[in-house]
Amino acid sequence: MKRHLISAADLSRADALLILDTAEELAQLADRPIKKLPTLRGRTVVNLFYEDSTRTRISFEAAAKRLSADVINFSAKGSSVAKGESLKDTALTLEAMGADAVVIRHGASGAAHRLAGWVRGSVLNAGDGTHEHPTQALLDAFTIRRRLKGPQARGAGLDGLRVTIVGDVLHSRVARSNVLLLSTLGAEVTLAAPPTLLPLAVGSWPCAVSYELDSELPKSDVVMMLRVQQERMNAAYFPSVREYSRRYGLDAERMARLPGHAIVMHPGPMNRGVEIAAEVADSVRSTIVEQVANGVTTRMAVLYLLLGGTEFPATGEA
């Protein structure tokens, strides 16, 4: 594995499988009464968040703490950043404090990349602008594998599984990371979206593209709904929220056209009634709550592997 995790493209198939398998081990440990492991004791993980994202920050914080790392939460709001401190100066400050890893969420694409040039510790991209969000893709892959192949699927990829990602691909870091990671793991990815919400050069990506959702549903093992920002209609990406919902929203009727085993995913936060209907979000096919739980274990695996923590006891020994 590389020292940083900035893009899903940084991960080879072997790297990705190692993370998923490690997460699977950690998930077993999570069932124990004492969830905490000593592996990252004495190491410092900084959560550097320039955007409000309570769920992602809490997930990383829980992951680091369960590995016994010291966690510093650095929120851009109310800090020196609000006074106009540059990313570089913040990076040098964190460096001086001896951060072993920096988890960064930032509104600018490439911010994690830039940060990696200024700190010695590992950089984990927790979402940069409209670029990538690789740990989201990892937890999605982990969720897909668990649901469709079972917890004993260690070493297995997602070969042959058909994943349809629906919605605002153009502005989605989740979509970019998932296209890269899921195709690395052997899945067949299709993007379903209005043409305005697909990058013009989407043809160069390792996936198929469809302008309609209905034709994709019967052949999908996984449907991943992306959050659509309602203000996009002001920039003429689509005429109205209702029309978007009619053409690309997943309601109960559409869900019924999925194969029986198919699952429905959403990275959250959801717009119920826009891209996903309440009865779909709350259905047995929905993995939305599992994704949150899997987020912690997957991020533990990433932190563990990037920071080279001490061995954790193999499952079954305790």
């Binding site: 600018a108 490439g110 990349h113 409209t130 670029h131 870091r173 970019r176 013009l200 050069a201």
Partner: protein, 432 residues
């Protein structure tokens, strides 16, 4: 004039001429050319292996003064120009205050005269404050001591078609030219990088080629309609070159420039998100680069202009989307052109003299610049060693800023000397 003002440049090759010869300079002019040119008291410069070009002329330079003297001053920017072989630069209007009055253009012009490294010809703003709504006093700037002939809102596009039409028409009264920064503002809202594979992968808002091409097509039609001179700044796409070729085939009064960086670099360099590669218009694809080279070679694009855009370190040591647009280029322009155009066989050195001196001087209406080397011509010239071994570009130079996209890149050639009206501004590659 004393004899100490005479220079005998021996063994130099003039592109298009026959073999090595000697150039005698005196009284600010070229007094003699030929293997037997002699002067008993002239200082001698041994120019074996060097070529002599008429002093380079840049149609597009940001000197930043007044307003951003932390990035560049007239003094430092023109020093960089001289080191790059330039004897004249056009100073763009987007200063603070904007060069939209006779007072500001005269100030810049006077600062250039005082610095003395090269001629500084101010460019006037088309609209007040570059605001794009009301014409600046173009005639007053034309009548001022700075004798402004080129007008541009560079950095901003004159997007309003009616205003553009009026500006083109109005400057006919004093043989002016409107230099357009072709960028449709609506199609480029928030844009960061050429729209294509790289912008899609990097998650940077796309900057479509059509945002440039649409404005160029419109402006060519407007120029033809009113019979006025249009100059298109920093052409960056293959499609733009095609439109210009079509406009020129109609005999319309349209000229265009291309930057050294658009002749050599592509958007793939953005992969590391280093904003030193962030520029407006953005770096495009390899196909665009190839087409721009062809268009410069066949004359569709008239000239090379640097768009030298210095920025302080902190404007670039930041996130891509926060960073300033622009790159320096005066000190590397000729070497980049050698690499992109001469070493590839697309242009000979006589062609370089035409595209980097003769034509830009003509477009800028600059008297005494861009005159082919001949007895009686002003002694503005550049001595260049095209055989100098390729050396990596270092960011440190005469410019106050360090934002060169060529740092570390090995480029051939070396500017050995620059003469401005017979006086050396650069000798042995150093400022005099």
């Amino acid at each position: 004039m004393t004899d100490h003002d005479s220079w005998l440049i021996k063994g130099v090759t003039i592109p298009g001429g026959e073999g090595p010869t000697s150039l005698l300079l005196g009284g600010g002019s070229i007094t003699d050319i030929g293997p037997n040119a002699e002067h008993p008291d002239a200082r001698t410069l041994d120019a074996d292996g060097l070529i002599a070009l008429p002093g380079l002329v840049d149609l597009h330079t940001h000197l930043r003064e007044p307003g951003r003297e932390d990035a560049e001053t007239v003094q430092t920017g023109t020093a960089a120009a001289a080191l790059g072989g330039f004897t004249a630069v056009h100073a763009m209007a987007n200063t603070d205050p904007v060069a939209d009055t006779a007072g500001v253009v005269e100030q810049v012009w006077r600062l250039g005269r005082a610095a003395g490294h090269c001629d500084v010809q101010p460019v006037g703003a088309v609209t007040i404050g570059l605001g794009g709504t009301r014409l600046a006093e173009l005639g007053t700037m034309a009548d001022s001591a700075a004798r402004v002939r080129v007008f541009s809102d560079d950095g901003r596009c004159v997007a309003d078609p009616l205003l553009m039409r009026r500006a083109l028409e109005y400057v006919k009264a004093f043989d002016g030219v409107i230099a357009q920064h072709a960028q449709d503002p609506r199609l480029t809202e928030g844009a960061q990088l050429n729209e294509g594979e790289m912008s899609a992968r990097l998650g940077l808002a796309g900057w479509p080629a059509v945002a440039e091409e649409g404005i160029i097509a419109r402006d060519c039609l407007l120029a033809a309609h009113v019979g006025s001179a249009l100059h298109v700044c920093h052409v960056s796409t293959a499609g733009s070159a095609e439109i210009l070729r079509w406009a020129k085939s109609k005999g319309w009064p349209v000229t265009a420039e291309v930057t050294p960086h658009h002749l050599l670099l592509t958007d793939e360099l953005a992969a590391g998100y280093d904003p030193v590669f962030k520029v407006n218009p953005p770096l495009r694809t390899g196909e665009d680069v190839a087409e721009l080279r062809r268009a410069l070679a066949d004359g569709t694009i008239d000239c090379v202009a640097t768009d030298h855009a210095p920025h302080p370190v902190e404007a670039k040591e930041t996130e891509w989307s926060e960073a300033a647009f622009g790159m320096t280029g005066l000190e590397t322009a000729l070497r980049v052109v050698q690499r992109a155009m001469v070493d590839t066989g697309l242009l000979d050195w006589a062609g370089v003299a035409d595209r980097m001196s003769v034509r830009p001087a003509r477009i800028g209406r600059l008297a005494g610049q861009g005159v082919p080397l001949a007895p009686g011509a002003p002694a503005n010239l550049t001595l260049y060693d095209p055989a100098a071994p390729a050396e990596a570009v270092t960011p440190a130079g005469a410019s106050k800023s360090r934002n060169t996209p060529f740092a570390g890149l090995e480029l051939p050639g070396r500017v050995v000397a620059t003469f401005l009206r017979g006086v050396p501004t650069v000798l042995d590659g150093k400022l005099t």
